[in-house]
Amino acid sequence: MMKDVREVLYDSQAALRLVDSALLDMTGIAEETPAAPPVRSRTPQDADAIVAQGHEALVRMLQQLRASRSMLQKSELDRLAQTHDKLREVSSATETAATDILDGLERATAMVDELDALDGDSTPAPAAGVRSRLRDELFGLVGHMQFQDITSQQLAFASAVLSELEVRLSDLVQIFGAATDEGGVPEMGMAAAFDPSATTLDRETRQAVADAIVAGTGPRA
């Protein structure tokens, strides 16, 4: 059964409190009644008790930490891997959809060309005008399909962030105990090259910045 991340943190916190408490106990035993008249010299039994208490506390702490490790491994790492899969699926689905839409737009444009060819010069001006506007609309839609490339880069960026988080969690799990059962962090499999700042916003402003820089450098070849 998977535990919520808050429960994992709560358990880890509880384990650390246990250690803290055990350390306090041990300090208490070690510094017991320093001002009391004649300090009783410690017996081997006292030392045994301290060691036994310390050992018991460490065992309990390790058990808690192992439990936390196991929960982190099972719940959070699994969930991250699922999120990777989902992002990959979305990226792939938009790529397929974009291809299909582009196919359709190209077919539609070809049909408008066909209509033009069929009518030849006999086409009434209004009909020719409508076809011309339709062709422009279809071409505009082709341009709008750039969203696919940009969102794909945004998804790749989100995946990279998740991958980093996954590596850190995996490292944390390994600190708690044995190596992960899955044999490390799974590969993302998404495009490695992306622009983390890819956006569809402020196109004109960004183009104006580029134009100013290019204009300032003079012609190149």
Partner: protein, 125 residues
Amino acid sequence: MKFLVVDDSPTMRRILVNSLQRIGHSQCVEAGDGKEALEKFDSTIQFVITDWAMPNMSGLDLTRALRERPDAAGVPILMVTTRSVREDIVAAVEAGVNNYVVKPFTPQVLKEKIDAILASPATTG
């Protein structure tokens, strides 16, 4: 005029090729990254349009590599990319691109930049 269109996104390559055809440039060769572009580049290529962020070899490295080749040194290069940080644009210009288009672009902007490059003395001369 023969174009080499370089972008790792098949959708983007298609949009670029479509846009080029629309403005009368029907001869296009496509490449998915800088490395493939270098392999496909030959003396018949007269214009390069490249993305920046690509696996294997970026558009920036492709530009630098082309500028070092005697047969490509004078070929116009237009960078079409989502990268729009000032430092990136300066780096691209310093690497040797002739002009820079920010994605998402409009067909008008693409045409304007291609026309400007072709009309510039550095290209025509």
